[in-house]
């Protein structure tokens, strides 16, 4: 062996490779996270600055019905968006995986997804306006016009639209790895199609199904932009509350508490996911 391993040289190499990136993470990820945690125990001063006294009062405020309601709405958006994505995305993943032109279909799936996020949300605003396309179509059948925007429905629709590929891709990966012999075996044993699917196919796609659900659920409940643009103040999610505390009412301490709460909730759902999937699951997410 040559000079490779004196302790000094090893330390030097670690410093060169890990040093800059590690320092960056400490400075711009760890430190801000700690600052948010710290701020969440402080109080809003008369002019919106952070002051003492210390305490848990911001967390106590979270229990106020107003804020619980926003949290419930976020959960509802997250759960419903995940369910709808599953209904739309699960069969689609099968279709793509078994299609001879699957590269092209994947490309077509990703194309709208790679245009700007705001444009995707804006597109729905255009469609759902009172004098927009949907109402024009309804009008042709003598219906409406309906007030489709702003509404919870609009927020949900745009959320699904925005995050659908996050669901399809992991399921697709699972389907690609699928062992179809199991299905044939089930048929050979005389199982009916539904039963054969439930026992031979569905369990094999669990990893993709779970990963897709987490990937839709977390951003869906954490976003504020969709509710901001398509809810116009009538649909208030936890992300909107956070933005309001920092951007309008200047209660940074409470905004920080909301952030810690949201972060905690996300980590909890990831923990549950990891319990279901094992450590590997987390890596699959990325």
């Amino acid at each position: 062996m040559n000079e490779a391993s004196t302790p000094w040289q090893r330390a030097f190499r670690v410093l060169v490779t890990v040093g800059p990136g590690g320092l960056w993470l400490l400075l711009f990820v760890l430190l801000p996270t700690l600052l948010v945690l710290l701020a969440s125990f402080l109080t809003r001063g008369p002019y919106g600055e952070l002051t003492g006294p210390w305490g848990f009062h911001n967390y106590a405020k979270l229990l106020h019905p107003v804020y619980l309601e926003a949290f419930a709405q976020s959960l509802l958006v997250g759960v419903l968006a995940t369910l709808i994505s599953a209904l739309l995305g699960y069969p689609l993943a099968f279709y793509i995986a078994r299609h001879p032109q699957r590269d092209l279909l994947l490309f077509l799936l990703l194309l709208p997804f790679l245009t700007n996020f705001l444009i995707r949300v804006y597109a729905w605003l255009v469609l759902l306006q009172r004098e927009g396309l949907v109402n024009a179509l309804l009008g042709a059948f003598g219906l409406g016009p309906l007030i489709l925007y702003p509404s919870f429905f609009a927020v949900l629709l745009a959320t699904v639209y925005t995050f659908l590929p996050f669901f399809v891709l992991p399921v697709y990966a699972s389907v690609e790895r699928l062992d179809w012999q199991l299905l044939e075996a089930a048929y050979d044993l005389g199982a009916r199609p539904v039963k054969a699917f439930l026992h031979a196919v569905l369990p094999q796609t669990y990893p993709g199904l779970f990963a897709g659900s987490v990937l839709v659920f977390i951003p869906a409940m954490g976003t504020f932009v969709v509710a901001d643009l398509l809810g116009a103040g009538r649909v208030v999610l936890i992300g909107n509350l956070i933005q309001q505390q920092f951007g309008i009412t200047r209660d940074w301490a409470f905004g920080a508490a909301l952030s810690v709460f949201l972060m905690g909730f996300v980590l909890l759902s990831l923990y549950l996911y990891a319990r279901l999937q094992g450590e590997r699951g987390l890596k699959d997410l990325v």
């Binding site: 800059p20 069969p91 279909l105 709208p112 996020f117 255009v126 951003p219 954490g222 972060m263």
Partner: protein, 259 residues
């Protein structure tokens, strides 16, 4: 069954493309409002190009994306190599930190960076909220993604190759430069591409970390949308859709040819 699946896929693709097609069509519509197509016009594009600010926002967006991607790719690649090759104190802490920007909602990320910058400005007198702080914010989430992508590529590699290089007398940096990096290259490229896309698309972190004059295209789109639906935004959106479609198609064609 098969037919049902096809119908379903068709409907989902319609759902994916309808909104975009509507925007593209409306950007050529003479009518300012509503969806009735009354005539073809390029006026909205003309007024877009006559607005010098739009070009400035576009250049700002590119500046942020390129600089942050460059820095994040270098930092992330080195970090991934370090994490895979060496053992050192604090390694598991770094691994957890890497996941934070990936999983935490971007609002939380935005406000925590805002807190950091506000405190730093108060105590140290810098940084000014500007394109510079936006770049810092973007690098932060990009580093995490680049590191994770490159790391997963490195974990697939055969460590015997590096050992062989060392046995043949290569120095540490020579091994890195001539063996590790070329082998990790697809991961590095994929990470950089992902970082670039994330930066171009980011609105939330930019929203919280930008200062005066640091307007990027997403910020401009947001404030225009806030003011109401307008054909000028249709036109801008169509251009962005066209541009991303072009680059995606290019990438698609290139990868197809290699296979």
């Amino acid at each position: 069954m098969r037919r049902l699946l096809t119908l379903h896929a068709l409907l989902v693709y319609l759902f994916l493309y309808l909104p975009i097609l509507v925007i593209v069509a409306l950007s050529f519509n003479e009518s300012r409002r509503g969806v009735r197509f009354i005539g073809f016009t390029l006026d909205w594009y003309r007024s877009l190009f006559q607005d010098p600010r739009v070009l400035e926002y576009f250049l700002n967006t590119l500046l942020v994306a390129f600089v942050s991607t460059l820095v994040a790719t270098v930092l992330g690649t080195l970090l991934a190599v370090g994490l895979v090759r060496y053992r050192f104190p604090g390694k598991s802490l770094l691994r957890y930190l890497l996941y934070i920007p990936v999983v935490v909602p971007d609002v939380v990320m935005g406000v925590s960076l805002l807190l950091l910058f506000a405190l730093a400005r108060e105590v140290l007198g810098f940084p000014r909220l500007s394109l510079f702080t936006v770049i810092l914010g973007h690098i932060t989430f990009q580093v995490a993604f680049v590191t994770l992508v490159v790391r997963s590529r490195l974990l697939l590699l055969d460590p015997a190759l590096e050992e062989a290089a060392r046995d043949l007398g290569a120095r540490g940096w020579q091994t890195f430069w001539h063996v590790t990096l070329p082998l990790a290259w697809p991961g590095v490229a994929a990470g950089a591409l992902l970082a670039l896309t994330l930066s171009l698309d980011d609105f939330v972190v930019t929203f919280f970390t930008a200062g005066p004059g640091a307007t990027t295209l997403p910020l401009y789109i947001y404030s225009s949308v806030k003011l109401g639906v307008s054909p000028k935004v249709h036109a801008l959106s169509t251009l962005i859709i066209g541009l991303s479609a072009f680059f995606l198609a290019l990438g698609y064609a290139l990868t197809r040819r290699r296979v």
